[in-house]
Subunit: 226 residues, 2 copies
Amino acid sequence: MRGFAESPIEKPKTVAEQVANVLREAIASGTLKAGTALRQDELAEEFGFSRMPIRDALRQLEAEGIVSIHPTKGAHVTRMDGAEIGEIYAVRELLECEALRLSIPAISDGKLDEAEQALDQIDAERNVGRWGALNRTFHLLLYHACGNQRLLGLIEAHHNAADRYVRILLSSLDYRTRSQSEHRDLLAACRQRDGRKAVNVLRQHLREGSATLVNAIEDGGMSRRP
Amino acid sequence: MRGFAESPIEKPKTVAEQVANVLREAIASGTLKAGTALRQDELAEEFGFSRMPIRDALRQLEAEGIVSIHPTKGAHVTRMDGAEIGEIYAVRELLECEALRLSIPAISDGKLDEAEQALDQIDAERNVGRWGALNRTFHLLLYHACGNQRLLGLIEAHHNAADRYVRILLSSLDYRTRSQSEHRDLLAACRQRDGRKAVNVLRQHLREGSATLVNAIEDGGMSRRP
DNA sequence: ATTGGGATATAAGTATCCTCGTGTACGAGT
DNA sequence: ACTCGTACACGAGGATACTTATATCCCAAT
């Protein structure tokens, strides 16, 4: 879009950022389960860095709501119950519906094509771990033209926060089929530039996701104490 | 509610938190102006602590959007232009209207009385610095019963982010008069439990605030480079 | 059984040192 | 006079080693 020298030159990556990325993915993928203690010296040794950048990473993840830090008790992977998931989805509904509403009049056909490709990739993808990312990509592409960076940032943050739970949803073939069908409907409404319909489909999509997830967590025992 | 010894026993306060609070207030009050470099060793010496808790504090403020951290360039007080203020207000409108809508059916008369007291205090208060806090208190009291902690958290964060700019607004007698009149209308609608009206008043209130502020910043030169 | 220490583990905080990217200022070459 | 390159200073990121404070758990004395 903007560059001639393309992307590779960006701002330097700090160790803290890299550590945060690894931890974020580990938490999202379920490698680090809810409630796990994240001890700084342990992580420091494991990653081969000092405590300083590890603390920075943990702070960052705390801001994202993925990790909870209590003074003297340290950092733990945030444990979420059904109520919290419900809250996140309520906020997502609010934010994403608004972003979609704003985006639709401005969205380019190119972006819609990209979104469609993301859907096709989801259908084709066999690696469970990739579905979460593709799902997010699809949604964010639709909101991209909303013109409010802060709104987009919040949406992304809430995707991150719920990611590891969403992946539980996506691992069910049944849910994935239903979800994909809703995605196609949503995309169709976007292509027609029918904002009202698109928003309604999205709202329904998120509410179903929320209900399914809250159920799974409540009686699946995801939130049991160890 | 829960205690016998009241509040003082809560979780221990870390140095980082205290530093963050002081810095947040200094930025909100305008003591630290937009663009100011926040050098860690300087702050460390000034506060009489080491760099570690100062870094933690800066990270936290970064998460709140008050401070921007660039690797190798360090931390600076976030500089906002009219567009960013507009974005914040757009998000506030979205979040706060929803919170109010959810809150109204559940809000207690006691909270409404408290909110009214906050308004009276604003009228009585002579200290400019207190208006911001009272203004926030009033708004948050109305949303308190919305039942979504995360939503409340986001609202508070956005108050923080825009605080130092809102204070510019509030320092104008003209705006304050108008704002208070809108606040009274809003409260009245809440007392009648008229959700639609209350939300409309709030929306209008925020839009006026946004427009006034964006104007003030665009031609007031608040966002000039140093 | 209850209380009241220790002992241990871990987070928080301190102090110092090193490396490296960035900006600036000065001097050489044209 | 203008550009370019180098030298140098500064500050952030990071490493390392040490101290302090706060839990928690276990055991011993009452």
